[in-house]
Subunit: 325 residues, 2 copies
Amino acid sequence: MSELALIERIAARARRRAGTELGIGDDAALLSVGGIAVVTQDLLVEGVHFDRATSSARDLGHKALAVNLSDLAAMAAEPVAAFVGLCLPPGVPVGDVDELYAGMEALAERHGLTVAGGDLSSGPALVLAVTAVGRESPGLPAPLRSGGRPGDVLCVTGALGASAAGLLLLERPELAAAVPAAVAGRLRAAHLRPEPRLEAGRALARAGAAAMMDVSDGIALDAGRMAAASGLRAVLELDALPMAEGVAEVAAAAGRDPRGLAAGGGEDYELLAALVPADVGTARRVASCPLTPVGRLEEGPPGLVALDAGGAAVRLETAGWEHDV
Amino acid sequence: MSELALIERIAARARRRAGTELGIGDDAALLSVGGIAVVTQDLLVEGVHFDRATSSARDLGHKALAVNLSDLAAMAAEPVAAFVGLCLPPGVPVGDVDELYAGMEALAERHGLTVAGGDLSSGPALVLAVTAVGRESPGLPAPLRSGGRPGDVLCVTGALGASAAGLLLLERPELAAAVPAAVAGRLRAAHLRPEPRLEAGRALARAGAAAMMDVSDGIALDAGRMAAASGLRAVLELDALPMAEGVAEVAAAAGRDPRGLAAGGGEDYELLAALVPADVGTARRVASCPLTPVGRLEEGPPGLVALDAGGAAVRLETAGWEHDV
């Protein structure tokens, strides 16, 4: 199929939603953002971020958009449109391209945005370069990473470790015996089709979150980044981390530390928010999902201190955990 | 160098300019667009769109941004920011990454925009996925492809065929003997470092351009697209096409039809505008670059009719020209 025919096929299936004045088909798209545009871009590269043996085309479409929407969620923004740059290697069936856009379109439908443009090319590997554009929610300035204050409580949405455990299950299917089939399915889905926390992001900002970011590289690394951006130190209580169902069992079967998956596994796409202690109760009521206090920000050398259950400092290594001596 | 270190290096060199409230370093960028955001995305893929043997890293950075700015020019927009997704194959020296961003930054400086975000990944080939975000110029709605009216004069900025001739010179250096060295240099530069017509785009919109687009795939194809979007027929006078200096000589040396390079060579990144006849004079005075009437829009089956000097219809083939019988 020619590039032009494929673009027409994609354009015919992209539904235009509120905020997109002009979508696919002109030199550029026109988006009504009303002041401040919130823009983010992520790459998904075959062989680096995904494997076509374990990710379906529909999964890929979903995930490529979801990881960008997660960034908009962290800014408490309302998504308006997405732009999809797609490199297609030889031999990808057109049905897979349809499925990829269908995965994106289903997620776009749920969050009211438009696939409003992009570009197509042949290439040596499947590459998805998605840019998401949102607008600031009315009266709700984006909470930045740098907004944390000493004494803020660090809270995380949902549960952690599911994506890392799901990836283990995809790479080593025999580990699935460690958990009920439904749990294994949820863990794999957490890796393949993460759900961006858009509603929670806006609710947390309304509840007073001073700093917010999405947890894409593991909460230990990301909390350290938020602290550093705020000129503070993050104290993370490892035993307070909410662990997704089945993570402990899969980690045990794989000979891995479950806290390593929860704190450092990455790709959970939960939100990390810094709130004054008095706002935590409200935030938990309005977040529309579980919200767990996991630590605090305090004065000190920028970076992260992780504490175990006894309050002892733990050093986090790339491949696991080690107590400080 | 680690991905993180490379991102920090890139962020340190990206200057924040007016309109970008928040650039690289948070989950998303914040751009002040004041109502309507104008957004476009283009991919440049190694082996498809460029060859590292003939394009320097600085050229690539320039071109990846320039082709996006050309789309904003066609919307008469003011560029605000660019987002750069970069796949790096193994072995690209960090100095080349610096040069690539330097090429982008130099062009961004001239047009007042900010490299405000993006993503980095390893990958099997060099891929540049650039998204440019602009705002509508005050009081100047974007002229769409579909805005053409019967009787409009089609005008094109600058001159055509330079990029195609430059590519011939890069692929077959011996052809350079056909033209003076300075001319050969300008033709190669037209291919490697096209200059987006941002100022001309706004001037043409102010002068009344009802439809506008950039000429990226050759004026024959693009004029046909504008006509089709407007529900009209484009009549293109082949002998009126402004041909860049040296194109005729390079085409002759290569055994190619110079009109083929001018009308179908592509990548000239000039602007094609539809104006009522009474506005053409004003448009030529304010365009800040040559502006040449090359045809008209008229009622008829959507598409393109090309006419030779005698007024006879010419059929355009992918690989050249053929008179209709």
